[in-house]
Symmetry: C2
Amino acid sequence: MVLPRNLQLDIIAATLEGFEEDIIFSLVDRVQYRVNGKIYRKGRSGFRGESRKSLFSIRLRCQEEMDARFGRYCVAEERPFTRRLPRPRRIAHLPDPGLALRDFNTVNLTADILRGYRGLVRRLCESGDDGHYGSSVEHDVSALQAISRRIHYGAMFVAESKYRTDPKTWRAMIDARDEKGMMRLLTRPKVENAVIARVREKVAAVQKQVNLRVRRRLDPETVVRYYREHVIPLTKKGEIIYLLHRRKDTREGRGRHYGG
Amino acid sequence: MVLPRNLQLDIIAATLEGFEEDIIFSLVDRVQYRVNGKIYRKGRSGFRGESRKSLFSIRLRCQEEMDARFGRYCVAEERPFTRRLPRPRRIAHLPDPGLALRDFNTVNLTADILRGYRGLVRRLCESGDDGHYGSSVEHDVSALQAISRRIHYGAMFVAESKYRTDPKTWRAMIDARDEKGMMRLLTRPKVENAVIARVREKVAAVQKQVNLRVRRRLDPETVVRYYREHVIPLTKKGEIIYLLHRRKDTREGRGRHYGG
C-alpha cells in the first residue's frame, strides 16, 4: 500500500525537524530576556483598559485574534490557546491533509503545553526582571505557537500514518480502547533518542557563532529535557486521542482543508 | 572620555550581530514558501472587507497596530512601516538610550527597506505559487521588522557613538552639511567586509543540519548581496540623517525613553 507523500513517516519526521528549528529559533529569542515574572501575573499588565489579565494573556489573545482572521486555525496542525476567536476573513485552498478526523480540534493539547511552557521559561531564562516585557511576551507567543504546531502536527500525522500501514491491528485496539497497548506500539525509544540527540546538536549548532558579550545562550540540556518531558509525551498523548476519535467510515479522511 | 556601555562601538557591533540572527532566522522561515506574488498584489487579498489592499499590506498593518498598542514603537530602534497607528496602551520604563534626537522618527528608512525587500524575496524564494499565503506574509512581516530594527539601531547608535568620540570634527562637518565627508568618515571597508564574512558563515552555520528533503535552504550569497546593497548602505544613509538632525544643545541626549 502506497501512502500519500505527506503521510509517509520519513516525510513527517523531516517536517517535524523543520518545526524543531522554529522552536529553537523562538527560544533563542526568548532567553535574551529575563523571566520577567510580572508579565504572567494577572492585573499587572500595565495595559490600559485591561485591569484583570496578565500582559502575556493579552498578547496571546491579540495575536490569536489576528491569526484567526488570517485563517491560521483552518490549518490542521494549528491550534489556538484561547477561545471564542473571530472567524477567518479569508479562505485559502490547501490540499486535503488526509486526516480522518471530523474536527481537528478534538486533538487539543494547548492547556498542557501552556503549563509546561511556564516551567521551561523559569529554567531557560535568567531570573529577575529587565523591563523588556513587550519583547518577552512577543517571543513567548512565537515559541508557544511553534511548540503547539510541532505537537499537534506530530500527533495527528504520525497517528494517521501508522494507522494506514496496519489498519486491522489499530482498529482492533481502538475498538477495545486499549490505550496501554497503543502507547506501547507508539513508543519507539530509538526514534525518540535520535530526536533528542538531534535537538541537542541543533541547539548548539545554531548558536555556534553567538557573541556572548551581548547574547545569552540557550542551554541545550534544558531544551532536551523539555523535549523528553513535554514535547514527546504530549505528542504521543495526542496520537492516542487522534486514534480514539478516528473516523471509521473513511480510509482517506475528509477533514476541513481550507487554510493557508 | 568614557562612553556609556550602550554607546561603545564594540557593544553596538555585538548587538547588531544579535539582530543579524533575527534576520537570518526570519529569512530561513520565509524561503520555505514560494514567492507567492499574489500576496503583494492589490485587490487580490481574498480578505473579506478589504477589496483594495494586498494581503501583505493588510497583515503588515494588523501586526503594527497590535505592536503599537503594546508599545513597540516607543523603543528607539523600532520603526513602523505604516502610518496613523493607535497609541500605546501601556507605558514601560526603559533606560534612556542616550540618543540626541528630538524625534527618533526623523531617521525613517522604512520606504527604502520595503522596496529592497521585495527584490530580496524574488531572489531568495522559489518562483511560483504554493497557496501558503498566510504563512508567507507572516514571515515577511517578521523579516521586515528584524531588518528595520537592524538598520535603525545601527544608524542611530553608531552615529551617536562616533559623534561622541570626536564631537568637534563631527560638529564642523554637520554645520557645513558636508555629507560626502561624513560618508567618507563613516565608511570602514574592513568592518563592512568582516560583517559580510560573518553573515555568510552564519547563514551556513544555522542551516548546517537542515534536512533538504523538506526544508529549502536560504542561499548565503543572496543574503550577503542584500547586506552589501541594502543593509549596509541604508545604515550609513541613516547615520548621516541622524547626524544632520542631531541636537546641538545636549551631549547626553534626551530622546523619548519609554517602551519595552
